[in-house]
Amino acid sequence: MARVVVLGGGIAGHTAALHLTRMLKRSDEVVVVTPNSNWNWIPSNIWVGVGKMKTDQVTFKLGPIYKRKGIAYEQALATAIHPEGGPGRPGPYVEVTYTDPTRAGEHGELEYDYLVNATGPKLNFGATPGLGPDGHSYSVCTSGHAVDAAAALQGSIARMKTGEGQVLVVGMGHGTCTCEGAALEYAFNVEHEVRQAGVRELADIVYLTNEYELGDFGVGGLTFTQQGFQTTSKLWTESLFRERGIRAVTGAHVTSVEKGVVHYEQLDGSHSSLAFDFAMLLPPFRGVDLQAFDSDGEDISAELFAPNGFMKVDADYSGKPFEEWRAEDWPSTYQVPRFPNIFAVGIAFAPPHPISRPRKSPSGTVIAPSPPRTGMPSGIMGKLAATSITEMTKHGASAKVPSGSMADMAAACVASAGSGLRHGSAASMTMYPVVPDLAKYPGTGRSLDDTFGEIGLAGHWIKLLLHYMFIYKAKARPGWHLIPE
């Protein structure tokens, strides 16, 4: 009998747990450890953030799903990994602190044969003074944050209805943020809402981003063919900004947020301030506060985790310069080299380097998007870890495990630009591979056949379809596993 502990119940962890319980033998055990009792379809939080959806439309309780699927569920926060066991304790285990209200604060230790680290990000609002719900800006990272953002946005719309102009700032709250696509979606949904409310002329909407140029999306931008020409996501995105009358500030690192004012530094070294009435600024991510110890109790966190707190796996972390980056630098099995029974998937694994070209301001401030690894790639990695563990339980540590590098992984992304079955709009995009492979695809690094983008109402329908389809899948309804990641 094998015991698999999955840390995290987000897209990667939940996908891994569901596939594990389907693939493993009945005698094997799957345990999910997650501090939150709810699952959240995060891509739809932007609709909660403009008041178009309620929290219960994007979240559900994990407990009943796990009970039905025979998955042990521990509502707890993982705090330390002991991959070699500990003094007087031969097997590996994880330390947890319970967040379950009935056991809040209790300490626990969970032994494992295989560990999947899918802990996702720590929302690092503290990296920028004044950033976030405890400061002076809003967020849509959680459904709760999005509810607060929607209420504040409605307040601004109400003031506009009395004739008062409003500056609405949407974007990234730090120079190293990721998920630019989500911020862009929110900016266009805000524009859609104020237009629907009939007060568009009173809203000055500004998209504030760490991207070097619009359309970078943290993947170095896209090139695709359109009407017989190669075009770029830069031109395509700028066109959308022009059409919708949204201003943009690029290459920006937010240095601090005060009540009604955001301060930022740009790649040219300039420092500026922007007064706002409403601001939704995403935080940078870092790994969760998880430590690792060897059998003697010595701290080996530096071996297992990168300085940003994400877990080091089978990637090249030698810190090569941009010109020497290769597709092969990216991990393919997501196993920790010295402990192949530990996998880190989704946001939890440490990328070897960014995908967009890294840039610094003259004062040395890093202003470069971190690589995105949410959504479809997260789900694929979760399933990959489940498949690998299943093979290892059958054939031992020498089992041949599948590979799935982001440099050989496709992604489909639908960025909403406004909701509504008749008046909605979204940008539908696909890319292959996520990490450009210039050796395989000279020029753009990606397949022009498999990389495309298109704007229209159809995109909104697809995003809505994905919303219902992935919640159905996450609830493990009949045939769930037939829905691809």
């Binding site: 830069k234 500030v249 008046h423 498999d450 229209g456 109402l457 159809a458």
Partner: protein, 48 residues
């Protein structure tokens, strides 16, 4: 110097016909099928 707003001002502006096509239910239903087909191709590649 940040040229982003200048770049936006000179970006291609969709014509009224393009904007109508992006909202036209019949055209968009066709695009819905076409985009889904493209996405399924990507997904098949992923799950091969």
């Amino acid at each position: 110097m940040d040229n982003t707003d200048a770049n936006i001002a000179s970006a291609p502006l969709p014509t009224a016909n393009t904007l109508r096509a992006r909202k036209n239910l019949i055209i968009q239903f066709g695009r819905f099928l076409a985009i889904n087909t493209k996405m399924l191709k990507i997904i098949r590649k992923e799950h091969r």
